[in-house]
């Protein structure tokens, strides 16, 4: 078992795809379709095209300065205090976003499968699993992702094949949804769907060679965006534009509708197993990267000991919203909008500092 070596390109790619690609299974389509109706399927593509240059800038700077990871880069470019302050800001943003993300998925699990159990228990269990997985270390996470990745893709492909006869492609028209301006606004401001990518940039030191990291993350990002757009297209053609606003979890609704022949009619739990595993990997990684970011900001070397209190804090914050409507449309929506502005500004600031430094030298 090759656990002791560092992460390869394939593992990083698989991690990225599971980490970002799982967005196609939560309430993202509902959130988007509230303002853009049936044009929501290509919004991630627009967001990606808008955000991609900024990511590339950050990756380029990382490469240029041979920095250890993101926080290191911030410190090099902005000086120790300012860099640490900015890193702390990034940490606070992603921490709160992660907490509400956790809450969103816990809601999903509870609503769909565990009606009567209390939400605290399910949340506690999820945190426990994340802590348990995160303590193992990043290399184990990478290895698990590599083993699990083909299975997850297989279940997605099976879902697509089974739902294909029920799709009606004309439903993507009218092509601009609720209007071109709305679509553009949402596309630009929801760039923070990929905000978890900033966290992924902490993985750099664990990759075997820096090239592995760059290749793995960029390939993973592109593949996951294509996957998201394709699955959103399927939701748009399966649910019409008025019904998708009422369906909070399109992935599970599709799994509820399809059947495998006339004997296997209720196969939704089959898809649930793979989905659940992908959710675990995502949250283990999220907890680990958040703690790493925190540790790097405050120069703590053995940050693995902080995973437990960090997880507990996330649970406490995640239990604040009352219900899914408040969670989704108030907290997450505002946070995502703010985060996108933040994600635009940070690489630009870094680029400006880079030019200043070049001038000085």
């Amino acid at each position: 078992m090759r656990i002791n070596t560092k992460l390869t390109t394939y593992e990083i790619c698989a991690l990225t795809i599971i980490f970002i690609g799982i967005k196609l299974t939560d309430t993202t389509p509902t959130l988007l379709s509230n303002s853009t109706q049936n044009a929501f399927w290509y919004i991630p593509l627009i967001s990606f095209i808008v955000m991609f240059p900024f990511f590339l800038i950050t990756l380029y700077l990382l490469n240029k300065y041979k920095a250890d990871h993101l926080v290191d880069l911030l410190q090099i470019l902005l000086g120790k205090t300012l860099g640490k302050a900015l890193a702390f800001f990034i940490f606070i943003f992603s921490f709160f976003l992660s907490a509400f993300d956790f809450r969103s998925y816990v809601n999903q699990i509870k609503l769909l499968y565990f009606d009567k159990s209390s939400i605290t228990i399910i949340f506690a269990l999820l945190i426990f699993i994340s802590i348990f997985g995160a303590i193992r270390g990043i290399k184990v996470i990478g290895y698990t992702a590599r083993v699990f990745f083909p299975l997850f893709q297989f279940s997605l492909v099976l879902l697509i094949i089974l739902v294909y006869p029920s799709l009606v492609f004309e439903r993507i028209y009218p092509i601009f949804g609720s209007g071109l301006s709305n679509v553009m606004y949402e596309g630009i401001f929801k760039g923070s769907f990929f905000s978890s990518f900033i966290l992924l940039m902490m993985i750099l030191p664990v990759a075997r060679k820096p090239e592995n990291f760059y290749k793995g993350t960029i390939m993973g990002l592109i593949i996951s965006v294509l996957q998201i757009v394709f699955l959103f297209l399927i939701y748009a053609t399966f649910f019409d534009y008025k019904s998708i606003e009422r369906v909070p979890y399109p992935f599970h609704d599709v799994a509820l509708y399809i059947d495998l022949g006339s004997f296997f009619t209720n196969i939704e739990t089959f898809f649930m197993t793979f989905w659940l595993f992908a959710v675990f990997i995502r949250f283990i990684l999220l907890l680990y990267l958040n703690t790493w970011l925190f540790g790097a900001t405050f120069d703590i070397d053995n940050f693995e000991l902080l995973i437990l209190p960090m997880g507990f804090l996330i649970m406490v914050i995640g239990l604040i919203p009352d219900n899914i409507i408040v969670n989704e449309f108030v907290y997450r929506n505002h946070l995502l909008n703010l985060n996108t502005i933040f994600l635009f500004i940070v690489p630009v600031i870094l680029l400006i500092c880079h030019f200043f430094k070049r001038k000085k030298v």
Partner: protein
């Protein structure tokens, strides 16, 4: 020491595997196969009938030859969930709606427009699948479910599943699951067709061609009492009319979201009109629909071309259509003409009486609009379709004659 801690933690975790408060043994659940809904004298209160399957029938070992295949229970309630709660107090096991296969709605309830109110829990809870079939029954749903006693099928779940799949393939009932109901009703641009069925037969049979019947009109002696035939037309969630099996077939064949392509039809014999010709009507491709949309005048011209093949199965008049070219041409023209006439009459009826289309043709007009608000303003439902000019053309691609080359020559056989 470490090992002990780890093993204890693992064993404690095993307890959680039973899903906390949600744990329920399969034996403690009873599965509802059909839910019937009726109106009562009070507004807002409906009568719900649950048909619960007997699990012992499933395995031959525990099957009791005299046991009932199902249990039918009727309670009052404001919605499905309250009724289920009341029923839970009566049955021995907790009711689960996970395997519901059909909703039966009485015609009275359908015409009152309360369909969406009653069905609403089906969308809100995640426990009901969206492929539940919607059936409108002529009599009360309670009577329908009680009278429905299939002779061969012991398991009610299999009965409904096979029966509806089988009947759908003949085209006399429409595609009507909950998913389609929600898409079409919320899409607010087309008509929804629900399956029409009954267990009460008409007293006398009125002479009609083989598929112009509605459920209940077909005179039969013996066999199951339940007849599934024809459809109920819903506009904006309220039932407005009934369609015969023939009209349902036309609606199914012209709709590209319904995968129907091979049905057995009967036409009058063109040379000897007292006889009929039966054959397979095969439509391998979806009808070609071209819409010419004038945005300023908000007027559409719809050109429909239907390509079909016909395979003759029975010619009781014994006229040789296969060998005689002249006769063949007469037959071909007759087929095309009859189909075009029927379709035209039906389309005119939908334009004038219903003022909307049951073919889901609003899909084709969508690409002429840039965004949703302008599409909704143009209003396919009330403005574009009723005033549209529809030209429908049938084209016979191939005429096949089955196995025999020629029929018996009756004059030769009889001395």
């Amino acid at each position: 020491m470490d090992k002990w801690i780890k093993s204890t933690v693992l064993i404690v975790l095993l307890i959680i595997l039973s899903s906390c408060q949600d744990m329920i043994e399969v034996e403690k659940e009873s599965f509802v196969i059909a839910i019937g809904m009726d109106v009562t004298d009070q507004e807002g209160i409906y009568e719900f009938t649950f048909q619960i399957a007997n699990p012992n029938i499933a395995s031959p070992m525990t099957a009791d030859p005299n046991g009932a295949p199902d249990e039918i229970l009727t309670v009052l309630g404001a919605d499905i969930m309250t009724a289920k709660d009341k029923a839970d107090a009566i049955v021995t096991k907790r009711i689960s709606l996970d395997h519901t296969a059909i909703f039966v709605i009485s015609e009275e309830l359908a015409r009152s427009g309360d369909l969406l109110r009653v069905i609403q829990p089906g969308t809100r809870t995640s426990h009901m699948r969206h492929d539940i079939q919607i059936i409108v029954s002529k009599e009360k749903a309670e009577t329908f479910l009680n009278n429905n006693n299939p002779i061969f099928e012991q398991k009610p779940y299999k009965y409904f599943q096979y029966k509806i799949t089988q009947t759908k393939e003949t085209g006399i009932i429409p595609y009507a699951d909950l998913h389609r109901l929600l898409q079409i009703t919320e899409g607010d641009a087309d008509l929804f067709l629900a399956i029409y069925a009954t267990t009460i037969h008409d007293e006398e049979e009125i002479e009609k061609s083989e598929d112009q019947y509605l459920a209940g009109e077909l005179l039969q002696k013996g066999g199951d009492k339940t007849q599934f035939m024809g459809s109920a037309v819903f506009k904006n969630g309220k039932m407005i009319d009934l369609l015969t099996a023939q009209e349902t077939r036309i609606a199914n064949l012209l709709d590209r979201t319904v995968p129907l392509n091979n049905i057995l039809v009967t036409y009058t014999d063109p040379i000897k009109p007292e006889f009929y010709i039966s054959g397979n009507y095969i439509q391998t491709k979806n009808p070609d629909i071209k819409i010419d949309y004038d945005a300023k005048a908000n007027h559409a011209t719809i050109d429909v071309t239907v390509l079909f093949e016909f395979e003759i199965l029975a010619i009781p008049s014994l006229i040789s259509y296969a060998e005689n070219n002249e006769h063949k041409e007469i037959l071909e023209k007759h087929l095309v003409e009859t189909n075009t006439q029927l379709a035209k009459k039906f389309i005119e009826k939908t334009q004038e009486e219903y003022r909307s289309d049951p073919f889901y043709w609003s899909l084709y007009i969508r690409k002429y609009f840039k965004d949703v608000p302008s599409y909704e303003k143009a209003d396919w439902h009330n403005n574009i379709y009723p005033n549209a000019e529809v030209n429908i053309k049938y084209e016979l691609k191939r005429l096949q004659f089955g196995k025999t080359m020629s029929d018996t020559n009756l004059s030769e056989v009889r001395d």
